[in-house]
Symmetry: C2
Subunit: 252 residues, 2 copies
């Protein structure tokens, strides 16, 4: 597993370099479900690069990835969950605040996760048997603090519509921040900057973060408090386990 | 003016170093108007440092600053507008995404503005007779692009309540981002990452950005399209002049 983890770290840095080297070219941008759901030729190129590298090193392994309909069940053997560019809108419009994500499962058990903040060159990695680090500096386990001295990260639309009481929770805190990248928002939770993160996202958006988070006292749940299904897009919260009861006073 | 601009650049970097050197100490945090309106001993210490340095170099000059009730009229001679820590909540909770800001006016005419992203070590400066740069790299004037390929920066609460139609405008775009620092949101507009920024803020929050923005095709207006008063907190928008009519279709 050590070798596989090392392989994943090198791969995600290669993917990041590939993006940085190619992002100044004219992007080919396509709309997926609607005008604000974008994919570029670079999302596809990066995923292709990662799938090829992994397939060549581990030909038996399976994939669950954002593009190209690669949808293995995470319970089925050795499965790589890939998000080539998390925060594609930020990538296209801002040229920053996007990430590459890799999660690796064996028979449904998360072995390690990696989130790479490409433009800041910060690699968050670990989980399973590995310490969780940001550029090799260990991250601390969750330290309790009051909601009214905390910030939460959120999906703007859900907060605006007060989905399941998220805005009510927000009013107990110092505010809601909307970055536009699930992966980087989850990293802010892991770093202790946000106390929780709420969004409507897919398994490749939360898999890597949830594997790292398990090691530091965090968990990913749907808004009813159940494990998400790791199959479809769902409204989820990434929260400190120790805060679940307090958060559930508002999220219902 | 060249000397004064150089002085301001050195001063803001000194202020940033002072914050970085002292932010790991235990902060003394006070609530101002309510629990989410915070000030720390460091906000006060940084402002004191800046006021002392300026007073000693330019004893005739006046101040308009966030802390300590220093409220000169910007039309009254040589006036320094100071925000020692913009994004105090981010500073306290996240330890990032905050800025120091300086704007300098002579008889109401902005001469230069500076916004220093302390943790990323990026200094945005210029306006008046000076080119606008980010760490000495020139920023481009506004380049037109459609709303549906753009992001806006906003105050989460205003967006959630759809104040004057901000959420309606948001739905024409790829989304709304909430960073929690007026200065850094305005810098994202200057960099072309956000197309506009909306918030309920005070003169020291928008002065530096508006002086730089004037040079690149942007302007600061209240939500009725009038110049803000440079005296009190107001709901304002920082937008490309070329987009005013289009934005006013939604903001009313």
């Amino acid at each position: 597993m050590e070798t596989k983890f090392q392989f994943a770290k090198e791969l995600i840095c290669e993917a990041g370099r590939y993006i940085r080297d190619n992002m100044t070219h004219d992007l080919v941008i396509e709309e997926k479900s609607r005008f604000d759901d974008l994919v570029t030729d670079l999302d596809k190129g990066v995923q292709k690069l990662m799938v090829e590298r992994i397939h060549s090193a581990y030909p038996q392994d399976h994939f669950f990835a954002e593009e190209d309909n690669l949808v293995s069940d995470i319970n089925d053997g050795s499965v790589w969950v890939l998000d080539p560019i998390d925060g594609t809108v930020n990538f296209v419009v801002q040229g920053c605040d996007f990430a590459v994500m890799i999660a690796y499962y064996e028979n449904g058990v998360g072995q390690f996760g990696l989130i790479y903040d490409v433009m800041r060159d910060i690699l968050y990695s670990g989980g399973g048997q590995f310490a969780v680090t940001a550029n090799n500096k260990p991250l601390s386990s969750f330290r309790d603090r009051p909601l009214n001295r905390s910030l939460i990260g959120g999906n703007n639309a859900m907060c605006a519509q007060n989905v399941m009481g998220i805005a009510n929770l927000g009013r107990q805190t110092l505010g809601i921040r909307g970055i536009g990248s699930a992966g980087l928002s989850i990293c802010r939770v892991l770093e202790g900057r946000f106390i929780a993160y709420f969004s409507d996202i897919a398994p490749w958006d939360y898999a890597a973060g949830s594997i790292m988070g398990e090691k530091l006292g965090y968990t990913i749940l749907d808004l009813h408090g159940q494990k998400p299904n790791y199959k479809t897009r769902q409204k989820v919260m990434f929260i400190p386990k120790a805060k679940l009861k307090e958060i559930q006073k508002y999220i219902k």
